[in-house]
């Protein structure tokens, strides 16, 4: 089967808007979370959010591109631009070669603005020409295809908070099987308040409004929900020989993708069994044993139920009694620093994990004071560790019952 490698990455997140800044934030255990009082005024219980700036696209793109872009398309453009640049993919290359795009994105709240206008005006004329392009769930892949002249697979994957991970996994499958040589894959999500209302109504968000930087507490006994964040992350995925022939620098090999669905009646409940299956399937796809994994980037969002189920799955996968302590992988949830980047999380956490591999460190699971019982057998990292990382498992899970896991290794 054809091998898949990563030759470029881009990131626009609350930890930074370039790879170097994000690397330093990860090393330092920096939290990107702030309190925004406007969220409370709007009617949310949680005023916590990742601090992610809107990019100024005017110097970068003509109006004809900017006019139809949704908020998440703007972040995705910035991430994709960085990824193509790192991969050495020029505009000329994009015009002369077939490149695909698959992004994880599970909703776009621009539709709410459309409804507001219709409610007030009762006249579609007042929507103008851009509403349709801005409010589609696939707005990101439609806009980026136009900007970058992409002519391969063009697909948006909606899979809740595993969307970004599945997008990378699907791109891998298409390259594995020879359908595409090069795909830009990633995840993106808006940062506006509308996007948060549903999960706030579910009481799934942290209400530690007076302590934003310690609010996201994966695996900690005092966690009270997740913190919303977002932006975009993008990876250039390429068939190995294609990358070598192009003279590209290979950042990592994407060697495993696993997936599963919960299949239980409680739609909001995570499932340790299903998460285990996704992670085991990713390891099998990579041809690796659990003991081969150096680091796990956990999905752990700081919710009551989610962290428990994932800890059970990780314990089952890695902490067998026969295993020696030194064979257990280091584990952290970078969501302790970023909050939950939702549709983008699987992609951003792939980027964070590869940055750790490239720079020989494990980022900490900050705010972990008292570990939950279910995670006590796991090697959860509380302070940055500097050591070579050769293999990474990045786990993702989406509310509603979708799971995805990716395995990367140094090459």
């Amino acid at each position: 089967m054809r091998r898949v490698v990563v030759t470029g990455m881009g990131i626009w997140s609350c930890l930074g808007q370039d790879l170097q800044t994000v690397t330093e934030s990860l090393k330092q255990g920096h939290s990107g979370i702030i309190f925004d009082p406007k969220r409370i005024e709007y009617g949310l219980q949680s005023g916590l959010v990742g601090s992610v700036p809107r990019p100024d696209l005017k110097p970068l793109l003509p109006r004809k591109f900017r006019a139809t872009m949704s908020e998440d398309s703007e972040y995705a453009y910035m991430a994709a631009r960085q990824a193509f640049e790192q991969a050495g993919i020029s505009d000329e290359y994009l015009c002369q070669n077939e490149v695909g795009i698959i992004f994880g994105n599970d909703g776009n709240t621009h539709q709410m603005d459309v409804y507001e206008t219709m409610k007030a005006e009762h006249n579609t004329f007042m929507l103008g020409p851009n509403a349709q392009f801005q409010s589609e769930t696939s707005s990101v892949v439609m806009n980026l295809n136009a900007i970058f002249h992409l002519r391969g697979i063009n697909l948006c994957i909606g899979a809740a908070c595993a969307s970004g991970s599945h997008a990378i996994g699907y791109a891998k499958l298409l390259i594995n099987h020879g359908a595409q040589d090069l795909i830009i894959a990633g995840g993106s999500i808006e940062m506006n308040m509308h996007n948060t209302i549903g999960v706030d109504a579910l009481n799934a968000l942290s209400c530690r409004n007076d302590a934003p930087q310690s609010a996201s507490r994966p695996f900690d006994t005092d966690r009270d929900g997740f913190v919303v964040s977002g932006g975009a992350a993008a990876l250039v995925l390429e068939e190995y020989e294609h990358a070598v022939a192009r003279g590209a620098t290979i950042l990592a090999e994407l060697c495993g993708y696993g997936f599963s669905s919960n299949g239980i009646e409680e739609i909001s409940m995570p499932s340790a069994d299903a998460e285990y299956i996704a992670m085991k399937r990713a390891l099998d796809d990579a041809g690796l044993q659990p003991s081969d994994i150096d680091y796990v980037n956990a999905h752990a969002t700081s919710t009551i139920a989610g962290d428990i189920e994932e800890a059970k799955a990780l314990t089952r996968l890695f902490s067998r009694k026969s295993k020696v302590e030194s064979q257990k992988p280091y584990i952290s949830s970078t969501k302790s620093m970023t909050g939950h980047e939702n549709w983008m999380a699987g992609a951003s956490e792939a980027v964070y994990s590869i940055l750790m591999m490239q720079n020989n460190f494990v980022a900490p699971n900050i705010n972990l004071e008292n570990v939950i019982d279910e995670a006590k057998e796991l090697n959860i990292v509380r302070e940055t560790i500097y050591m070579p990382i050769n293999t990474v498992l990045s786990n993702s899970s989406g509310m509603g019952g979708t799971n995805s896991a990716l395995v990367f290794k140094k090459i």
Partner: protein, 79 residues
């Protein structure tokens, strides 16, 4: 509203919103061929006219207009 006021408002819209080159905004400039007006720009221009001059252009009307001077005249006649 005088034609001079119409011209000022239309030209401001075209430079600020549609980002057309100010130097290209001559009365004889063809909307599509010289200014590069797209079908989306035409819909945007219709919305601008409704908001600024108080009447809603008929469906597809802007696309049938040739030059900028014809657009000024169309607005003056209908507002």
């Amino acid at each position: 509203m005088t034609q001079q006021e119409i011209q000022e408002k239309v030209n401001a819209f075209m430079t600020d919103r549609l980002e057309y080159e100010p130097s290209a905004l001559t009365p004889e400039a063809h909307l599509k061929q010289d200014l590069g007006m797209t079908s989306l720009d035409a819909v945007e221009t219709s919305l601008f006219i409704k908001r600024t001059f108080g009447f809603q252009p008929e469906r597809g009307a802007i696309k049938t207009i040739g030059t900028l001077q014809e657009l000024y005249d169309y607005i003056e006649k209908n507002s």
